[in-house]
């Protein structure tokens, strides 16, 4: 399977403090890839690098088969970008903005643009600068979709939008993805939204990608276990232990990763009892993962 986005050993630095180092990232074609991470972890920087807006110090970026930033103009014709901050000319009206964009994209779909204009209930005579935050978000999504891109890159597209607008934007996005085999790379910290729609998940923290797995494996693989009578060092566990917490008596709560039901047998081998397996939703799993990475001395 080809990858829509491929990042190899990316290194980037901005100022003294922040840097991306040894970043490897893969977005399979046709996937909806959720890019998670706390603020300041490097999500927006990574996205800017992927689009050729920034130049890396080292490493290789390939988007839709072409090298970035060398072939950026050619690639960008097939990429729909919705940035975090509104970036369009504030004096142009909605209609004029549409006309402007249409001139640059060979595959522009006018009927689609008109349809979305009605669906999003945007008044075409309002200047971009006068639109509300939600309307701006809707318009930028509209522009990205009307391009008929092969890849959609969305940087916190629903951040700060009210729930109704969020639903509209996501519905339009998913509608498009159903029509075309487009790939979606969406960064967000609205985890509950990503939970529904993503089939891959990549988690950034502090300039590193700490995990990249199919969504099902991430969600189902992270569990909270109630364990009793376990020895201080649990060697040879088939799963990865993210955290161990003593509760009371000999009872402990373990947070583990890459769990599979058969692994319950392991506890007998160390003379412990597994009392309960509790599911964690994506948000809890994400928090536990981050916590475990931060508590651990820097490795990987």
């Amino acid at each position: 399977m080809t990858n829509a986005i491929e990042i190899r050993q990316l290194h980037y630095r901005a100022g003294r403090a922040f840097q991306l180092r040894q970043l490897d990232l893969n977005v399979p074609s046709g996937a909806i890839y959720g890019f998670l991470g706390p603020n300041g972890s490097g999500k927006t920087t990574t996205i800017r690098l992927v689009l050729g807006l920034l130049r890396p110090l080292a490493g290789r970026i390939t988007v839709l088969g072409d090298a970035i930033p060398d072939a950026a103009p050619r690639v960008l014709a097939r990429v729909g970008y919705v940035p975090e901050q509104p970036h369009l000319d504030p004096t142009l009206t909605v209609r004029e903005t549409l006309r402007f964009q249409a001139a640059f994209y060979p595959h522009w779909d006018s009927p689609c643009a008109e349809h979305l204009l009605r669906q999003f209930e945007l008044d075409e005579r309002t200047a971009f600068g006068r639109l509300s935050k939600g309307q701006k978000g809707k318009l930028m999504t509209l522009l990205a979709l009307a391009q008929r891109p092969d890849l959609l890159v969305l940087d916190e597209p629903t951040d700060g939008l009210d729930p109704v607008v969020r639903r509209d934007v996501l519905s339009a996005l998913l509608d498009y993805v159903s029509q075309r085999q487009a790939t979606v790379f969406i960064s967000s910290h609205l985890i509950h939204e990503l939970e529904r729609i993503c089939d891959w998940i990549g988690v950034m923290d502090n300039g590193r990608l700490i995990t990249e797995v199919p969504m099902a494996r991430f969600k189902n693989g992270i569990k909270r276990l109630r364990v009793a009578g376990a020895p201080p060092s649990a060697a040879g566990a088939p799963f990865m232990i993210l955290a161990r917490e003593h509760v009371n008596g000999g009872a402990e709560t373990w947070v583990v990763r890459d769990w599979e039901p058969e692994m319950a047998a392991y506890f007998a081998t160390i003379g412990a009892a597994l009392n309960d397996v509790i599911d964690l939703d994506l948000e809890e799993g994400f928090v536990e993962l981050l916590r475990s990475f931060r508590d651990r001395p820097s490795s990987s």
């Binding site: 689009l51 050729g52 807006l53 103009p73 050619r74 690639v75 960008l76 014709a77 970008y81 940035p83 901050q85 509104p86 970036h87 369009l88 000319d89 504030p90 004096t91 142009l92 004029e96 006309r99 402007f100 001139a103 640059f104 994209y105």
Partner: protein
């Protein structure tokens, strides 16, 4: 692409271009008008020339102002959005810059035509005005096109020249940097030579 670029730039600069065109049209007329006298004495050739010449100093000022304002207005939307929009468009940077430049230059045609219309003949004055406007526009366009860092570099250069001049003055070294630069740039064949000299409606 050029059409939509032209349209968006017109939206930003239409006031400047409109007012500039009116001023450009009026300037030749007013400069002649100012020479007319209320009394019945026949116009003295000398007085006429003097009057026209004094109004003439406004031409380079108008040209520079037009070039500056149109250049700034051209890049204003990009600076507001930190160039994200321009850089995310599917065309090479140099082509985008060229489109912007061309659009601005096209819009500046209006005041240029206005000058020749006002002067009633497409003479040397109109051509000279055209060149002056375009030179000013190009210079300020180049400065505005860059990032804040580029503009900073340019200002830094100017600042360091000033600094060197001051130090030279203090050290009593005879170093007239600004004079040299001025001579280089403002006299022919320097690029800004077009702004100097006398601006006359009639070839004197």
């Amino acid at each position: 692409m050029f059409r939509v670029m032209l349209y968006s730039q017109w939206k930003w600069t239409r006031l400047i271009v409109a007012l500039g065109s009116i001023a450009a049209f009026a300037l030749p007329l007013v400069s002649v008008q100012g020479a007319a006298r209320a009394d019945s004495n026949p116009l003295q050739a000398g007085e006429l020339l003097q009057a026209v010449q004094s109004w003439g100093t406004l031409y380079p000022v108008l040209a520079a102002a037009l070039g500056l304002l149109v250049a700034i207005a051209t890049w204003a939307p990009d600076h507001r959005g930190r160039h994200v929009h321009a850089l995310s468009l599917p065309l090479p940077r140099w082509r985008y810059v060229l489109l912007r430049f061309g659009a601005g230059a096209t819009l500046l045609a209006a005041p240029i035509v206005a000058v020749s219309a006002g002067a009633l003949l497409p003479g040397a004055l109109a051509i000279r005005f055209a060149l002056a406007v375009l030179v000013a526009y190009a210079v300020f366009f180049a400065v505005s096109a860059g990032t804040a860092r580029t503009a900073g570099i340019i200002l830094g250069l100017i600042g360091s020249v000033i600094l060197v001049q001051i130090i030279a003055g203090v050290a009593n070294v005879d170093l007239d940097l600004f004079g040299r630069v001025q001579v280089l740039v403002l006299n022919w064949p320097g690029p800004l030579a077009i702004f100097t000299g006398r601006w006359m409606l009639i070839d004197v």
